[in-house]
Symmetry: C2
Subunit: 216 residues, 2 copies
């Protein structure tokens, strides 16, 4: 997997993170042996320890990287866009514009989010956990502020922006627990269905003809 | 915790399961030491092994018991009720009629559902995993059949009963990852908000005045 990568520090670290996503996503975090991740990228235990203290430390960094990227994508699509409905639809299109690797990463993020709730004994693990936890909250806060602004402008009628944010994130996140890239249901169909359901949650009608253009 | 319980086999097993729910729910499954569950109910490692091979075996039995009970409650409220809308509203009221212990159990069920996806090495663990996995599917199937019947009768307008079932279960399950019994938001408020959002998913209007009566 890492064969085509630059073996300098940044490249090696990124290769370890990518290999961890594949292992955690395919085999499950609990069932993955940390030594197998090291073997996937061809690093020994000592070199591996330079980057990550443990499997759990690596997991929290994987989750945090994903959360930071998702937050940036959300900010890019919503900030400075006065048309809240168009911004929401652009965000939803972007949420389903994911590669197979990103689908696996999302699965890891959702399947292991429970681990973020409990303090770790090791300082390095605990720091990574708190960072990922903070960025989980950043995303919820970004959605809440966006929905509150949309409600204030009168374009979306919602009673409680924070619970609405949790409802949207809850329904969206749940997809990655059962969705499989080469499974029975194609992502386009899942995207269309769940986009309409999320629009229904905020009281908006589906507009299927536009959605396909936005997703392209 | 087990002090008031009958120390015969069934009682002891139930006491271990209850203690495991408290530990897994409060401290997280990964962070719970199996020996601490044994200590909570006052059984030694040999006696504990008589009931459960491992922490993971116990987790799968906890999950399975919860799933079987949730399935029975769903069946009781929907089967033989020709009024699909009333049945749906009764199910949703029941879904939020949970004790603190049940809220913890739901959290364990949701936070650890990822573990059900991956085969175990031990035959006893694997059997428990497959049973819990089967009952997860039973609940999804029960919801799917109920929604398909409601759509057929014309009372609820939904395009895809299976994906609708997944959307409803996804949004409902997500609640237990953040809801805390003595937290900032009361369960009644969460129940009202999410019931209305789930009704919106299937295209139904909220009817708050009736809901409180049904939940009572």
């Amino acid at each position: 997997m890492a064969s085509g990568r630059d073996p300098v520090a940044g490249g090696k670290r990124a290769a370890i993170l990518d290999a961890a996503i594949e292992r955690f996503g395919e085999d499950g975090y609990e069932h993955t042996k940390w030594a197998d991740v090291a073997a996937d990228v061809g690093v020994g235990p000592t070199a591996l320890y330079h980057y990550f203290e443990s499997k759990q430390h690596c997991l929290f960094v994987v989750m945090d990287q994903a959360l930071v990227e998702l937050d940036h994508r959300f900010q890019d699509l919503t900030q400075g866009n006065p048309d809240h409905v168009a911004a929401l639809r652009a965000v939803l299109a972007d949420c389903f514009d994911v590669s197979e690797h990103e689908a696996l990463r999302n699965r890891v993020l959702v399947a292991e989010q429970g681990l973020l709730a409990h303090p770790c004994g090791s300082p390095r693990e605990e720091e990574a956990r708190q960072t990922a936890r903070m960025h989980t909250r950043d995303i919820e806060r970004a959605w809440t502020l966006f929905l509150a602004a949309a409600a204030d402008s009168g374009t979306i009628a919602i009673a409680n922006p924070r619970l609405t944010a949790r409802a949207i994130l809850g329904i969206y996140n749940s997809i990655w627990l059962w969705f499989r890239p080469r499974g029975r249901i194609e992502l386009d169909r899942v995207a269309g269905f769940f986009t309409d359901r999320i629009l229904a949650i905020v009281g908006l009608e589906p507009e299927p003809s536009d959605r396909l253009q936005e997703a392209a």
